[in-house]
């Protein structure tokens, strides 16, 4: 860290940086959510299935995020683990209408939690029960019990319903995540 940036962060002008990993099954809405979190003029109109991964940057009041938008398609899911090491927070997006694949999402989540890089670290995990506007969506409470989130040990987690298209529920989630990450970063320093 250079002198100026140190000074800036001391004075609170420069925001702290945090790496956030966006994971979840394909078609759950990860890219749409990130798109909505970006400043309005940088948003895209069309969201297409992500191939491999993309990196996006955006800020909120306290933190500057570097989001790793991972592809959720079956053949790219093994890329996720390569980014576990550097991440400060994880966002797990679930399509709350896709009842058939809750079992798959649960499986992918338990594989993630069991990974060596994640297992012992206190990384905050935010769950988005996305597509809450659709008629046959499952509530966040029901979803958390279906995915057995209460069994997660040694990690703070939070679940909120969201609508990636309108942005509903996103601020609640990101505020929680930035609070958790800030306190974690402070502890590290």
């Amino acid at each position: 860290m250079g002198l100026f940036s140190k000074l800036a962060s001391l004075l609170g002008i420069k925001k702290k940086e945090a790496n956030v990993l966006f994971v979840g099954l394909d078609n759950s809405g990860k890219t749409t959510i990130i798109n909505k979190l970006k400043p309005e003029d940088a948003q895209q109109h069309d969201v297409v299935p992500t191939v491999g991964f993309t990196v996006e940057k955006f800020k909120n009041k306290s933190l500057s995020f570097t989001a790793f938008d991972m592809s959720g398609q079956g053949r790219y899911r093994n890329l996720w683990e390569h980014y576990f090491k550097e991440c400060h927070g994880i966002v797990f997006v679930i399509d709350s209408t896709d009842k058939l694949r809750f079992a798959v999402a649960k499986e992918e989540l338990s594989m993630l939690l069991d990974h060596n890089e994640i297992k012992r670290k206190r990384i905050p995990i935010l769950f988005f029960a996305n597509k809450m506007d659709l008629r046959d969506s499952v509530s966040s409470v029901k979803l958390s019990s279906m995915l057995k989130l209460e069994d997660i040990e040694n990690k703070p987690w939070h679940i909120c319903s969201s609508n990636g298209l309108t942005g509903e529920g996103l601020s609640e989630g990101t505020e929680w995540l930035s609070r958790e990450m800030e306190s974690a970063i402070k502890q590290q320093n």
Partner: protein, 542 residues
């Protein structure tokens, strides 16, 4: 019941995804398919539901766990396949449902085309017989006798003649003959099995022909655009399972398991097959192929493996009889295996001849399908025999039979004189009065010579909104033969609308629910207004 599981290839092989115990589906492996019918990357589950086996046949399309569309099928479905019939964008495949002598083609989940199998030659003697009926040269008895003779000789008759022979009642026979004698006689066959064959390209979304096996021992290949028969191949027996590889325009192999317990291989250019056959020890229950090996499950609780040349590789004895089989082809891990459903509620997975996995289910699996569903590879769909459904149907049948018998018995006794020699009774009822209060007299006479009648009861059936009986239940003393006994009760009409109804009198024996005799009394209309109303009217006038 329908069960979905995801294949994971790793330690824990299956993830239980979803179970729908009230799906009330009755279907078989041949009637289940998975396809991207809307070309949106979300694969749908297509099921031809056999309903009760006689009613309620439906083509159902599931998007995830939700029923997305439903189309009624007129006859019992025997197979469902999806195929690309054109090169238009977006690449939406058509659904073909085999049912009776027809192939129903659905595009965009709507009925699109109906293909009818070519009719077969009618036996000239049979045709002549029906012709004579038409010209009224012979009566139905001669027709029946002649047809029965032909059937006994082993002649293949038309559906019309078979149905005619099934009829028991002479009046039904006559009505049937009169109804159909002017329509031309046709012999149609029934589709037993359905498969697809790529026409000239091997791409996943290339145009495919439909391949059908029929009850008339032939295999047809249909053109996907014009729906004309491209090739007909004859077999020594009825084909029941088809397995197709190759391209129609280049070279192809159709492996056919037949009802006579033989497996034949049809190639491009074959028209009549007698050789190239694998003889099984027992009837086939399922036929699948992985690359060049043929897997056959047979009724003697065994799974056999053959090379495409017909050489036997191995046989595995199964712990119970097999109900159906399917192939697992999980491309992400390059895993191929045979999955076999057994009658002991287990599903076995065989990698070559080794049992690698067992899935336990709540009931016997009747339909299996493995493939891509929704947006994920590797779903196993299992449809289970619906115990509840069988029970429900039997219950309905029981109720129906009971109701029928009851109506029959009521109708039989709808007689003022008992037909039963054990209960010789005569009933006669009269109504006196001008209303609203009537006097109803039931006269009973024991018509036997010497036997007295005991333990009899009189009861009435009436509309309780219309009439009030003072005594709706009368106990009858012993009836001495030959004497006339009168039993009286008062009936009050409750309505001032000037309407009347029938009242039924039942004579019952204690402890038996079937009446001995029934009398119907047509009640007269009330001529006078009920007193209460008259009073009220008078008050109003003042």
């Amino acid at each position: 019941m329908i069960v979905f599981s995801w294949y994971r290839g790793s330690n824990e092989k299956w993830l239980d995804a979803y179970k729908d115990p009230v799906a009330s589906l009755y279907t078989l492996t041949q009637c289940i398919t998975l396809s991207d019918v809307q070309a949106d990357g979300d694969w749908k589950l297509i099921i031809a539901d056999l309903g009760t086996g006689t009613f309620d046949m439906k083509l159902k399309v599931y998007k995830g766990t939700n029923l997305m569309s439903e189309n009624t099928i007129i006859d019992l479905p025997t197979g469902v396949e999806t195929f690309y019939m054109d090169t238009h964008e977006p690449r939406t495949p058509a659904i073909a449902v085999a049912s009776g002598p027809y192939i129903y083609v659905y595009k965009n989940l709507r009925p699109y085309f109906k293909f009818t199998l070519p009719t077969l030659e009618v036996n000239p003697v049979e045709a002549d017989l029906w012709n004579q009926v038409k010209e009224e040269k012979i009566n139905i008895f001669v027709l029946r006798e002649m047809l029965e003779g032909m059937r006994a000789e082993g002649t293949v008759l038309t559906v019309r003649s078979l149905r005619f022979l099934q009829l028991q009642d002479i009046t039904d026979c006559e009505a049937f003959a009169n109804l159909y004698r002017f329509t031309p006689l046709r012999r149609q066959t029934v589709i037993t099995s359905l498969a697809t064959l790529k026409k000239s390209h091997a791409d996943e979304d290339a145009i495919s022909c439909l391949v059908l096996g029929t009850e008339s021992k032939s295999v047809y290949v249909l053109d996907p655009e014009a729906f004309t028969v491209l090739t007909t191949m004859e077999l020594p027996s009825v084909p029941v399972f088809l397995s197709v590889t190759g391209l129609f325009d280049v070279e192809y192999r159709i492996v056919v398991a037949c009802r006579n317990g033989c497996i034949y291989t049809l190639k491009r250019g074959t028209t009549v097959t007698t050789k190239n056959c694998i003889e099984l020890n027992s009837q086939p229950v399922g036929l699948q192929r992985i690359n060049k090996t043929i897997y056959v499950g047979t009724m003697d609780e065994a799974l056999h493996c053959y090379t495409s040349k017909g050489k036997k590789l191995w046989t595995v004895k199964l712990p119970a009889s097999m109900t159906t089989m399917e192939i697992i082809d999980y491309k992400p891990k390059g895993f191929k295996a045979v999955i076999v459903a057994l009658s002991n509620c287990n599903v076995h997975i065989y990698k070559e001849k080794y049992l690698v996995n067992i899935i336990k289910t709540d009931d016997v699996v009747t339909g299996l399908k493995f493939g891509r569903f929704g947006r994920e590879d590797g779903t196993l769909i299992m449809t289970l025999r619906a115990m509840h459904r069988t029970f429900q149907r039997d219950l309905y049948l029981l109720r129906l039979n009971t109701a029928r018998e009851y109506v029959k018995s009521l109708e039989n006794r709808m007689n003022p004189i008992s037909s039963d020699p054990q209960e010789p009774l005569k009933l006669n009822a009269t109504v006196q009065g001008i209303g609203p209060m009537f006097k109803l007299t039931v006269n009973l006479q024991n018509t036997s010579l010497s036997n007295p009648s005991t333990n009899l009861l009189i009861t009435f059936q009436y509309d309780d909104k219309l009439y009030a009986f003072k005594n709706s239940f009368i106990e009858v003393p012993m009836l001495v033969p030959g004497l006339n006994y009168a039993f009286e009760t008062y009936v009050e009409c409750q309505s001032d609308k000037g309407i009347s109804d029938n009242v039924k009198v039942y004579i019952l024996r204690q402890g038996k629910s079937i009446p001995i005799i029934t009398g119907i009394i047509s009640m007269p209309c009330t001529d006078v207004e009920p007193i209460a109303n008259v009073k009220k009217k008078n008050q109003d006038d003042f």
